[in-house]
Symmetry: D2
Subunit: 260 residues, 4 copies
């Protein structure tokens, strides 16, 4: 029965994943470090930037992922408009033989925040074209709902801008998104440390996606293990149902009456 | 090498514990629930209130802990002055054959906060009497240092008042305590959910002590497993070294150059 | 020289306002209470919902505002799409003889959050039609910039959803918006109490817009005076330049050397 | 009636003060700057460190305060034990002809935090000796109550350590202190900017004491005016009664029915 607690797969578009931690490959110093981190993370799904992928020839990341039996989720990182993102997604489908895509359409380099109009446009086009679309979005509950309505298979709001490590700046928005979503909500971007990942799961997210919080940590392998544990802990806490918050103290000892 | 990451015992007064989660027994509905929660928590050290223990006769909590091979840490919960706490500690030593004690000297019932003067007095007396003293204290960095100076084997500051579930109200104070302590700092009281426990460890605490966050959760067994994972995650993150926080975004993709 | 500190007008689209507090009229119990609150607030600009205005006949709010010499800023509250909002703005221009409009295009009743796509569309149409457009927007730094680029005279991000009183949920986003804006940033929605208003100004906002935080407070007149003082305090603090935050303490006494 | 709102004197030990902002003199660059800041602050009570005062001969701070008709509250800044603080208080009484004292007994230089045991001891001695004692304390609700019980005329908990500018790290503790105190609670230390001061008052504090937040600000005079406004704003908001916080939005427009 204890083991049952951990039988709790993430399901996106009908596919099951044993891990609720999705790890990006960006930011790693080299493939050996990345491999150890990926193993420690327990991830079964990894996102890889397509913009540079076409330039690749040799072994590299894709071969590593194949060897580790980790699913590849191509992303459109660096794309600035709907057209560029749609084109990149199609190239990825061609090159990698998957119709899944993490859709990123950023507005500028300083914030790397999504452009809401272009993102929604690209999502609609890609859904129509048969893609399983996982959009990286800001934490606007309205946009999250719109993305679901045009047929996205999940919505992936940020906690804070990419690479800032600021954690979840607005838990209220994440709760609003979760409370109205009927597709999985994946917290994507901004995670800095383990407690951030745990909090995301406690707020009701179905999974956490992160990259540089692991790949640029002092010890990436150890941080990958930390994130794995924190995602598990946050998920279990969400399912277990936490105690309410109180203003005044409440002793635990009175309940000790059963002792003896 | 991966397994080495988890060889990271908690050491208090020269004794090693494999788990950094210390679980109290207070608040459990019955022994069966408590047993499942204790097992799921992985704890190797448990605190038990002495005030009612002397009334016990039959099997109960102590037998359970013996069966699970979990060390008993008697506490002086409910004691209001130094004298009462010292007396209770001595009775516990007599009854349980241990000179370890979790020292609690509370000031009143509404806050269950420690009385700093009585606590320090009791701690000094018990250290002089040969006890290994683990005091439950407020989050005052000065009092924490005083408790260490009189010979306590650890200091156990609260995150927030007992049973409130408010988490760590003042991380700055916990950081101040950790930065000056040369004994283990154990976060004790106020934990509400898994991310609170992870944060405690990230701030540099050596362990987390909690009871009702697990025993009064909707599903205590699952919450115990959550806390176990969160403590592990927070500890690993602390050791791994998190990324710095930034105001502006920072892309992960440029570092993808090694691809191919 | 002391009085000069308070010569610090808010300038929007070339017009000066002596007060940086803009008060909405919504939520007031009756006109007498509203009048006292408006007077206490010191506001020189007030927003009024147009949707019901056309049904009005007698004296009412508009006459009150005329009497108090407060400028009317009609808003499109309750409008759900760009077309409806544009039509409402035009009716307001017709009825009130002003080409200023607070543009609201909400997505749904539960969140009252703006619809980013419809908002941007409406803003563009109204700017083209010669309006001075002050859009109520979410706290997305990208959308704020887009609104400025299509010609809005100010951007008015929320602190949190309308009527929640949750204050500024994401100060980081407000700072990002302020740091890139070349039009005034007005914090609009979510203010619950005086310190929220002060914080908005400290983050660099040019003004604060609120309604129910005053009109539904226990004592609206007193809360209006509170908000007035807090906006002034926050603005002065922003201009004065606060001390940096430190981890360790820093005594003030060493600098007392000049004594004597 | 509007003016009545501002008839709300601070009363300590039977004496009335028109301003709820108490400004310390520490940290000022020179007397001219200090004078402008004191005037802008509107303070009627100022705290001055005694340790260096005895070395003073010429005009200096005391003459300035006399000229501005500001009451002097000598403090025992820099004292490390009860005896030293008691002696300093007596010297101050002798030198300045006042039996009021701001009691500071710090534990160490890095945190400048009060030593709870020495502070309580000194407070008791000084009360017995006829002093009106205003103790600077940490934010421990137990110690605050003890200080009141030994006869202190007010309790002055910190928001965060002296000079850190970290604001109120633990609002919950301040609320606990306020909810049980029957003497005025004065927030002392840690204020960084205007919204911190407003928050202190909203939590129910009777006054705010600060020094370096003003004296070391970029523009001390302007920051003094900011603090004055913020304290007023926070106080009025506290008395007015804020709106409740809500998870979902709540429109103000439905209440506009009275229009017309």
């Amino acid at each position: 029965m204890f083991q049952e607690m951990f039988q709790d797969p993430l399901v996106i578009a009908g596919r099951e994943f044993g891990s609720r931690l999705v790890m990006g490959t960006g930011g790693a110093d080299n493939l050996a470090v990345l491999e150890r981190a990926l193993r420690a993370s327990g991830t079964e799904l990894t996102t890889v930037a397509m913009r540079r992928m076409d330039a690749s020839g040799g072994p590299g990341v894709l071969e590593l992922l194949r060897r580790l039996d980790i699913e590849v989720l191509p992303n459109t990182a660096g794309c600035r408009g709907a057209d560029e993102a749609v084109l990149t997604a199609r190239l990825a489908r061609e090159a990698l033989g998957t119709n899944w895509v993490k859709l990123e359409v950023v507005a500028d380099e300083r914030t790397l925040l999504p452009d809401p109009v272009e993102l929604l446009d690209a999502a609609e086009q890609l859904v129509d074209d048969g893609f399983v679309v996982l959009p990286y979005t800001n934490d606007d509950p309205v946009l999250a709902l719109r993305l679901e309505q045009v047929g996205c298979a999940a919505v992936m709001p940020l906690g804070s801008p990419i690479g800032t490590g600021l954690g979840i700046r607005n838990p209220h928005n994440i709760e609003l998104i979760v409370s109205r979503a009927s597709v999985p909500v994946v917290l994507d971007a901004g995670i800095g440390t383990a407690s951030d990942a745990a909090l995301a799961m406690e707020l009701g997210c179905a999974a956490v996606l992160l990259a540089t919080a692991v790949t640029r940590a002092g010890d990436p392998e150890r941080m990958a293990a930390a994130m794995r544990a924190a995602v598990t802990g946050g998920r279990l806490a969400h399912l277990a149902g936490r105690i309410p918050k109180r203003f005044w103290a409440k002793a635990s000892s009175p309940e000790l009456d059963y002792v003896g």
